[in-house]
Amino acid sequence: MGNVDVKKKWLRGNRITVFYLTLFFILWEGGIRLFEVPMYLLPAPSGIAVKFVQNFPLILKYTWVTGLESFGGFLVSAAWGIPLSLIIAFSIFLRKTLYPFTVALQLVPKIALAPLFVTWFGFGLMPKFIIVFLLCFFPILLNAILGFTSLKKEHNDFALSTGADPLTVFRKVRLPAALPQIFVGLKWAAVNATVGATIGEWIGGDAGLGYYIQMASGDMKMDVAFAIIVMLAFLGLFLYYLVVVFEKMLVPWHVSQRSSVNGMMTMK
């Protein structure tokens, strides 16, 4: 298939998406108006848009709070997770002891610890950072270990046979080969980050989008709640695509040449 054909098909596909998306919103709006559905049950898209604009200053203020919690926790877990994964990947002892232990910990609902952190660290930023950190740390760590350990033996042997020292082999062969899998972990963690911040704010918060959602839904202001969820979605997508941009920069070779196991979507 030529490049032009691909582009044409993509445009046609996009037109279908846009068409049905518009239809969906028109039906939603029409249904609400026709059946006079009360706002506290389900607000109309127009009502959500109006509330989004009306409450924009407060929404923006809280977006900074939640963004800071998500981004800060994410960065700290990446800064710890990737070096730690290197140590575990290259130590046979740690791979036999610590690694199975971390895999088991992955299955523990870490979010259940959230009330403990609030009790220990109060209502400030700290408990949210820790919750986000815990939710981001394990996907980053486990995927990075998988990445660093899954280099084909032939590639490693070949690189060594060319006379390259182990450090060069790591820099030129093992690290680039591990990057796609590392980014699977980072993308997964980026999705988890906003989840962690939101839940942290629900349990003990006096600011942030999660706190605001709970306030609005408690007042039965569903239109405001939906407007905040839209903003939270944008924040989540922003973090996700920030990681994707970095991936494009660091892993410039073609998608089909990357090998990685797709992460499951979990929020543990």
Partner: protein, 274 residues
């Protein structure tokens, strides 16, 4: 790999005794790490005189667990009910819908695109809305569990049912098999590994969803119990409830693994399990 092959050979030759022996041989180091971790925890708490409202020793948690086992069991049943029903509905709806979407280009362009976007968005953010809509009842928690399980199942299901290569499909049709047979014999088995990725991810999400829903609006269940216990600074009880919650999550996860082993014994993830 090699040790796995040797283990398989030994297992066939010596039966169950060898199986246990090999399992101990493979598992003793991680188990030792776990024991070491708990001993260290206990020792540090006693040595540094950490107050128990900050962090209790494992022995104190265990004692609390035994003393409150009846109440913990009651709350476990509440959470288990929410978790299993929500998960079951997500499976029953998610897998058929994923098949529909995989076979319709229009649905791929619309429903799939929307589902993927929602998958990247914190779906749990809707939890307070469910509580407002359905109250403090069982239904609101069950629906939150459904909501956080549905998307991983749907997205991985679509991915699985789409990923059959054209060659295999054409080959199957060329043998004279009709579309239904092709689906049952070729496409469904080929999709199963990816379908189970979604089912396992959803199994992890399920207990988390139930816990969060109970935090937001609940008067029973392990999540509610954890919050009450931490509110009373009873960290022993909170940790005891967390242990039970973990056990519940593991039970669901291993049920899915069991189904996976029954349904796709041929797959590489099932082979060479030392």
């Amino acid at each position: 790999m090699a040790s796995g092959a040797v283990a398989n050979h030994l297992m066939k030759k010596h039966g169950i005794a060898a199986k246990v022996g090999i399992w101990i041989g493979e598992a003793y180091l991680p188990l030792l790490t776990g024991v070491f971790f708990f001993v260290l925890w206990e020792a540090l708490i006693r040595l540094l005189n950490v107050p128990r409202y900050i962090l209790p020793a494992p022995s104190a948690v265990f004692l609390e667990f035994a003393q409150h086992s009846r109440l913990i069991w009651y709350h476990t049943l509440v959470t288990a009910n929410e978790t299993f029903v929500g998960y079951a509905i997500a499976v029953v709806l998610g897998i058929p819908i994923s098949i529909f979407v995989a076979f319709s280009e229009t649905l791929q362009r619309t429903f799939y695109a929307a589902a993927v976007t929602l998958g990247m968005v914190p779906t749990i953010a809707f939890a307070p809305l469910f509580v407002v809509w359905f109250g403090f009842s069982f239904a609101s928690k069950m629906l939150v569990v459904f909501w956080v399980c549905f998307f991983p199942i749907l997205i991985n299901g679509i991915f699985g049912f789409l990923s059959l290569s054209d060659e295999l499909r054409h080959f199957s049709l060329s043998t004279g098999a009709d579309r239904v047979t092709t689906f049952w014999k070729i496409r469904l088995p080929a999709a199963l590994p990816q379908v189970f990725v979604g089912l396992k991810g959803a199994a992890i999400n399920a207990t988390v969803g139930a816990t969060i829903a109970e935090w937001i609006g609940g008067n029973a269940g392990l999540g509610y119990y954890i919050q009450v216990a931490t509110g009373d600074f009873n960290m022993r009880l909170a940790l005891a409830a967390i242990i039970m919650l973990t056990a519940l999550g593991l039970l669901l996860y291993f049920l899915v693994i069991l189904a996976e082993m029954k349904l796709m014994p041929w797959h590489e993830s099932q082979r060479e399990r030392g």
